[in-house]
């Protein structure tokens, strides 16, 4: 497969996954904002999430203070903010268009009509009442895209590179959301302390983990178990362990002459997550652990790019 094609497929999937992650975050905070007693806790959660996702600076260039509804609109529909959901959907579609011959027509049509519909969302004048509807729609389109990818694409490099993009992005997103809540999650000596129920519901809902948590632990929500679920549980689709396992496996399927070291590092990250325990993470401190993880994930992304996607100029 052409390196450029692999690059477009990788980014196509990353952008769709990113749109979904953002939609989940907006959705979780939006629901919380509808509760009468949320107030400061919600604004605080929103603010730390914006910092972790590097949204805050761009937002503050256009808005004075953090007003939840303005944040939701900015992240969802702002056509001038390159990181907004609609712009992620546009970028996913542009990447798909550049390699539409390598996609099944079902997949291309899904991404293309997602973008066409996103444009009409942008064109409407009353997004305020539409936010809940919009983010729900984004999640559905992401589910649909993933389903069409899995259901129609040949299991060849095109598929594997698209999956690598999906899971690197997802791992990145989960780690950043955890970072935004790292203070509430600091599992100290007293593991039974429940800081703020709103924070939990936002965090768990944003990662589609609220129901999963109940099902797995059948217990009250504690920071220790939340962290365990989102970092170490192999059966949790958005956990760091699960994402890194997928990245490692898909990398094995696209192996080339120069990718040995990249594959080794991916395996190492996965092994570290697979064999570590919560106690070890608590010992180094969650913030430090997440910071290290994000750095290693970034290194992995760079290595995938130079091994496969944008190989250095031909000698």
């Amino acid at each position: 497969m052409l390196s450029r094609t692999a690059d477009h497929l990788y980014w196509m999937s990353r952008y769709i996954e990113r749109a979904e992650s953002l939609a989940r975050l907006v959705d979780a905070h939006y629901r919380m904002s509808l509760l009468p007693q949320s107030g400061d806790a919600m604004v605080q959660s929103l603010s730390s999430t914006m910092t972790a996702l590097h949204v805050e600076q761009a937002y503050r260039e256009r808005h004075e203070s953090i007003v939840p509804m303005a944040v939701f609109e900015f992240v969802s529909l702002d056509r001038d903010y390159s990181g907004s959901i609609v712009n992620c959907l546009r970028a996913a579609r542009e990447n798909a268009r550049a390699v539409r011959g390598s996609l099944t027509s079902e997949l291309w049509e899904t991404l293309n009509s997602t973008w066409l519909d996103a444009r009409s969302f942008m064109a409407r004048s009353t997004p305020r009442t539409d936010i809940g509807h919009f983010v729900e729609w984004v999640k559905e389109r992401s589910h649909l895209t993933r389903g069409v990818t899995i259901g129609t694409m040949l299991r060849d490099e095109a598929f594997y590179f698209s999956r690598i993009g999906t899971f690197i992005e997802r791992a990145d997103s989960t780690a950043r959301i955890l970072t935004a809540h790292q203070n509430d999650l600091r599992p100290g000596a007293d593991a039974s302390v429940v800081p703020d129920p709103y924070q939990w519901s936002v965090l768990l809902r944003a990662l589609s983990a609220f129901e999963v948590y109940r099902r797995v632990y059948r217990d009250v929500i504690t920071p220790y178990k939340v962290a365990q679920l989102l970092i170490l549980r192999d059966d949790m689709p958005r956990s760091l362990t699960r994402c890194c396992k997928e990245v490692y496996q898909n990398l094995q399927s696209v192996r080339n002459d120069q990718s040995r070291e990249t594959e080794r590092r991916a395996g190492e990250i996965h092994a570290m997550l697979h064999f570590t325990r919560m106690e070890a993470i608590i010992e180094v401190g969650l913030p430090y652990f997440l910071q290290q993880f994000l750095a290693r994930l970034r290194d992995l992304g760079d290595r995938v790019a130079s091994d496969f996607l944008v190989p250095p100029a031909e000698a």
């Binding site: 497969m1 052409l2 390196s3 450029r4 094609t5 692999a6 542009e94 268009r97 550049a98 390699v99 539409r100 011959g101 390598s102 027509s105 291309w108 049509e109 293309n112 009509s113 066409l116 490099e157 590179f161 696209v254 080339n256 002459d257 496969f308 996607l309 190989p311 031909e314």
Partner: protein, 465 residues
């Protein structure tokens, strides 16, 4: 379709009956459905210089253009003859130049043409084929006779619309296809791939074919992606290819992979910055050198453009006689060459009745349509012509045939042409029909998509009952 008021020509009869039985709402709904489908599938083209309409649909008309099979058979024979002669001509002008020595075509017309590539002199290409893919524009004049309006031998486009229009018609009106025996066009991508493989450099057993595009911003990008996908070959941009030791490779996730045949959809000028335009970002440095060594096949060959230049077009019937010893089966449209004094005098005296075209122009730009032009436009063109008459040819405004077409609320006659696609390799193949383009504006003769033209499905009816 209707030679006299009320009576449909026989090959249209079944269709006309069907059409008359359709409620207006159903047709309107089908037309809306077609638009939505084209949008969703992204069958669009880019219009240069229009930011807002960066991607637009080519209007699709749901009324097909019908050709009876016996008319098509005549056309097919004429097209094969013409393309055979054109290929012989291109080979000749880059080798012995017999046609120039014989005085059939003036040497300066060829050798001083900007599309003539001296780099190609003495270079042997596989099978002696230069124009592997040719789009020959055909019109029917007032007397009902087919004529060639233009040869497109560089990077003719439109074949994807021929295929998608057929898909669309089958999706919208499946019942029509069971009632009529319509010659299929689906195999075009198979034929194209087969054709490209058949002209691979000698000694290559399992050739790797790629399609070279200028990228997603190009107006015909949809077609490039479509054909690459249908053929199952890589769609590459210049940056994906490189030349090493006079062989061409593409950069893949598994390292460098050898390429044998390039179906290029960019012009000569942009192919190789070392040989042609140095500022081209679209090409592949060193490609010409590899080509001259016979290490790669480029389709269409470099230097075919000289043969589709409008200043060469008037000589094509002579080429057919010269190389094949045959009388041309499809005549040209009468053409005045303004470099000749008597032609120039005639044309300047009859400007309001004629179509004047720039010899190097393409896409319906740079032309004057006398009957539709204002006095000022005509006078402006008169000055241009007098300043450099050799840059222009003129043709009569043909009473082009028309075909019923949806316009506003109902069916109206609109002018049409036909572009069949001729594939030359080991043999010559043409799928029945081609792309029918239609001038959607009332009275307009310009069918180009960039200037308000649309398209129709084209049916070669095997069995007019």
């Amino acid at each position: 379709m209707y030679p006299t008021e009320g009576a449909a020509r026989s090959h249209y009869r079944l269709y006309a009956e069907w059409l008359a039985a359709q409620p207006a709402e159903r047709l309107a709904q089908k037309r809306a459905e077609a638009d939505a489908l084209f949008h969703r599938v992204g069958i669009t083209f880019a219009v240069y210089g229009q930011e807002e309409g960066a991607e637009r649909l080519i209007p699709f008309d749901i009324v097909p253009r019908v050709l009876p099979v016996e008319e098509w058979a005549k056309l097919e024979a004429g097209l094969k003859q013409r393309v055979t002669a054109l290929n012989a001509f291109i080979h000749d002008i880059y080798h012995d130049q017999q046609i120039l020595k014989a005085g059939v075509v003036p040497p300066e017309q060829v050798l001083c043409n900007s599309q003539y590539r001296p780099e190609m002199q003495g270079v042997d290409v596989p099978g002696g084929i230069y124009a592997h893919i040719a789009g020959i524009d055909i019109v029917r004049d007032g007397a009902g006779e087919f004529r060639v309006l233009e040869d497109n031998l560089r990077v003719p486009s439109g074949v994807s619309y021929m295929l998608e229009n057929r898909n669309m018609m089958m999706r919208l009106f499946p019942e029509l296809f069971s009632e009529h025996r319509i010659a299929p066009v689906e195999r075009y991508p198979d034929f194209l791939l087969d054709n490209l493989q058949s002209v691979a450099p000698t000694g290559v057993s399992d050739p790797t074919v790629v399609l070279l595009t200028a990228g997603a911003a190009n107006s015909a990008y949809f077609e490039h992606a479509f054909l690459a996908q249908q053929m199952g070959v890589e769609l590459v941009e210049g940056q994906d290819l490189f030349v090493r030791d006079e062989a061409v490779y593409m950069r893949t996730t598994q390292g460098a992979q050898r390429v044998d045949v390039i179906y290029r959809r960019i012009d000569d000028d942009f192919l190789d910055p070392l040989a042609f335009r140095p500022d081209s970002m679209l090409g592949v440095p060193g490609l010409l050198a590899a080509y001259r060594e016979g290490r790669i096949t480029i389709a269409n060959a470099i230097g075919t453009g000289v043969a589709d230049d409008k200043s060469i077009y008037p000589y094509v019937p002579e080429m057919i006689r010269f190389y094949l010893g045959q009388a041309p089966l499809i005549p040209n449209v009468q053409t005045w060459m303004l470099r000749r004094q008597e032609d120039l005098d005639y044309v300047l005296a009859h400007l309001p009745d004629l179509v004047v075209k720039e010899v190097h122009g393409a896409g319906g730009y740079g032309m004057l349509i006398g009957p539709a032009a204002t006095k000022d436009e005509i006078e402006h063109f008169r000055k241009l012509i007098i300043a450099s008459p050799e840059r222009y040819i003129a043709q009569p405004t043909l009473a082009l045939s028309t075909c019923p077409t949806f316009a506003g609320q109902g069916l109206k006659p609109r002018h049409i042409d036909l572009r069949p696609f001729v594939l030359s390799g080991k043999d010559i193949r043409i799928v029945p029909g081609g792309l029918t383009r239609v001038a959607l504006r009332e009275g307009s003769l310009v069918v180009n998509s960039s200037q308000g033209g649309g398209t129709k499905d084209t049916w070669v009816l095997e069995d007019p009952c």
